[in-house]
């Protein structure tokens, strides 16, 4: 493909000017993406003296963000992300496989569109959807109450507004996300591999064990990492569901900046945000690496 691309004969001066065409893009990202990102890093290590208004360098914010309630929040966040990522990866993989074996393009299209809605744009409405189903006046809550005389909250120890409840709702957008990211890999598995394996004497299990699983493994791991990041950085669902009270990092950031009562809270928020970035960035790189690996295989 690349060999067909030709450079047109353009006078030297215009070539250099042409690069300016990319300047708006670069400038835009610099102002609205790079600058805020760098400011997070910057203000995470700043403090403002409340009396003199003088700025100085400090590790205090960062240390605070790793102690007490904030440490607990970080632990909760990581645990929430890990649990939901692993469960969604497993269930999403099974579901995606069931879907990919379908031969109906319409059905597949419907699934992929619906998954995209839930995975990418669902956040807030999902919270209210589940309130309607499992909240204190929810449909399922009252059904269980009237049919079995059981209270979800007291007898079954389930509360939608606890970390368990949030986990349940997260699955609702993470499983579709898994379906979206793993489907290309599943469809990249060539029927010839199965046929070749069977032809050489493999049973179904042996095919999965020796051929399909090794091909999928990097992709499944990578997707799990991606789900972890998605779950860790999700904000809307948990915020709406628990009214901002759940002790997880994204909500703590919101509380820190929205409260706006204490001086220095902004800097603490930056430290919290930095913690998230420090976790998410390397993981995304790992995801990219694993993804690249399968791409060469499934080429």
């Amino acid at each position: 493909m690349t060999t067909t691309r030709r450079r047109w004969r353009i006078p030297g001066g215009r070539v250099r000017l042409g690069w300016l065409g990319l300047a708006p893009f670069a400038a835009y990202l610099a102002v609205f993406f790079v600058l805020p990102s760098v400011l997070v890093l910057f203000s995470a290590f700043r403090r403002v003296d409340p009396d003199t208004g003088v700025h100085s360098f400090t590790l205090q914010n960062w240390s605070d963000s790793l102690h007490g309630a904030y440490l607990k929040g970080l632990e909760n966040s990581i645990q929430l992300a890990a649990v939901t990522a692993v469960i969604s990866a497993v269930l999403g993989l099974v579901l995606a496989y069931a879907i990919s074996t379908s031969r109906r393009p319409f059905f597949k299209q419907l699934v992929s569109t619906s998954s995209a809605v839930l995975a990418n744009f669902g956040g807030l409405p999902l919270a209210f959807l589940f309130v309607a189903v499992l909240g204190s006046a929810g449909v399922l809550t009252s059904t269980v109450q009237s049919l079995f005389g059981l209270s979800l909250q007291d007898d079954l120890h389930f509360s939608l507004f606890s970390i368990r409840g949030v986990e349940l709702v997260y699955l609702y957008f993470l499983i579709p996300l898994m379906v979206l990211v793993i489907t290309p890999a599943l469809e990249g598995i060539r029927p010839q591999w199965r046929e070749a394996a069977e032809n050489l004497g493999a049973t179904g299990w042996q095919y999965w064990r020796w051929v399909a699983a090794p091909v999928l493994l990097p992709n499944v791991l990578g997707s799990t990492v991606l789900l972890f990041c998605g779950s860790l950085s999700a904000f809307a669902t948990a915020s709406a569901l628990t009214n901002g009270t759940l002790a997880i990092v994204p909500l703590q950031i919101d509380t820190a900046v929205s409260g706006n009562v204490l001086v220095g809270q902004e800097n603490l928020a930056a430290a919290l945000a930095l913690n998230m970035i420090v976790i998410v960035v390397p993981l995304t790189l790992i995801y990219q690496l694993l993804q690249k690996r399968t791409t060469t295989w499934l080429r």
Binding site: A196, N199, A202
Partner: protein, 358 residues
């Protein structure tokens, strides 16, 4: 390249399709298909797309079940045997190597399933890769190899399990022309060396004619003709085969008596069954059986000359509107340039005749 056959020869088996039919919904992919393949033979199945040749191969491999009929290997019905018990080595059109395994592991895969020890596997995979000329690439992964190399590995992998029958499903069609001819000869050499019964599916007649002991031409789920390449070319049994294999001229003619036909002002012997005298017929002649002489009195004019190396193919238009193709030696092409008026006649050999309706 390989002086000694490093790999033990394989006992060739006999394969028989007896009145095999395979129905997919409303279409009959195979329709009363009968064919015997002799031990150690390389048989090519040739035909246009959708003629059922791939179905025939997949039935033999066990990827598909026959609707009716019998499929025998050495006289035993295998139609109920599952794929993974059939011991067929198959080479697919492309991309069938396991991407996470090196060439060596790909070749050793079938042996691993049969419980061979690691050292046995390595040794045997090494031998087979040498047989296909890839000893230098044993540790490479499929994505590091060219298409031709991948197909060589696939061939070695199929042979590693000492298959009862080697199945080749258009293994060359994804390769570029040069590699294709090379690998074609290589496959044939290895097949002869090992003596394995081989079924080769292709839509490329050149491939089929150059490699196979016999070629089965298929059409609409049935076998039209199965014969040695030279027979197929020279004495096509049906008009379809005559058309499909090679190129044919159709010349109007009239039967003179039981054994000769009048074509233009020439009388040539007719081959096979000939209709009653006086019947108008189509006389079939290969381009190489058409003689061309530059002549101002000739009734045809050269339209196009296409250079093919040793021969040049001329397309000519006769004054009665009939178009003719003729292959002439390229050193004569100069005197027969487009625009030249020529006289055309047929080589004095028996020709096939058809009544135009058939």
């Amino acid at each position: 390249m390989t002086a000694e056959p490093a790999v033990a020869t394989i006992e060739g088996t006999r394969v028989e399709y007896l009145d095999v039919t395979r129905v997919f919904g409303a279409t009959r992919a195979l329709d009363g298909f009968t064919l015997q393949i002799e031990p150690g033979e390389l048989l090519a199945l040739l035909g246009p797309s959708g003629c059922g040749k791939t179905t025939a191969l997949r039935l033999l491999a066990g990827f598909d079940q026959l609707s009716s009929g019998q499929l025998l290997i050495d006289g035993r019905d295998v139609s109920r045997q599952p794929v993974n018990k059939r011991d067929m080595g198959m080479v697919f059109q492309s991309y069938s190597l396991f991407p996470t395994m090196s060439a060596r592991d790909n070749v050793g895969f079938g042996l691993r399933l049969r419980g061979a020890s690691t050292s046995d596997r390595r040794r045997r995979a090494g031998e087979l890769l040498e047989l296909v000329g890839l000893s230098a690439h044993t540790e490479k992964y499929p994505h590091q190899m060219s298409g031709g190399q991948q197909q060589r590995v696939a061939l070695a992998r199929a042979l590693a399990i000492q298959p009862r029958v080697l199945l080749l499903d258009e293994p060359l069609s994804a390769l570029d022309a040069k590699v294709r001819t090379q690998l074609r000869d290589e496959i044939r050499r290895i097949q002869l060396e090992l003596g394995v019964t081989t079924v080769f599916v292709t839509h490329d007649q050149e491939e089929a004619l150059s490699m196979a002991d016999r070629v089965g031409v298929m059409r609409a789920g049935q076998l039209e003709q199965c014969d040695a390449p030279s027979v197929l070319y020279q004495r096509p049994a049906t008009p379809f085969v005559a058309e499909f294999v090679g190129t044919m001229n159709h010349l109007p003619g009239v039967v003179r008596d039981g054994s000769t036909v009048q074509v233009g002002d020439q009388s040539v012997p007719a081959d096979g069954q000939v209709p009653l005298s006086g019947t108008a017929v189509s006389v079939l002649a290969r381009p190489e059986a058409v003689l061309v002489e530059a002549s101002v009195e000739g009734d045809a004019v050269v339209q196009v000359a296409t250079f093919f190396g040793a021969v040049t193919r001329l397309r000519m238009l006769r004054s009665d509107g009939v178009e003719l193709l003729a292959d002439v030696s390229s050193h004569r092409a100069g005197e027969l340039a487009p625009g030249t008026r020529v006289a055309v006649s047929l080589v004095d050999r028996p020709v096939l005749v058809r009544t135009p309706s058939s």
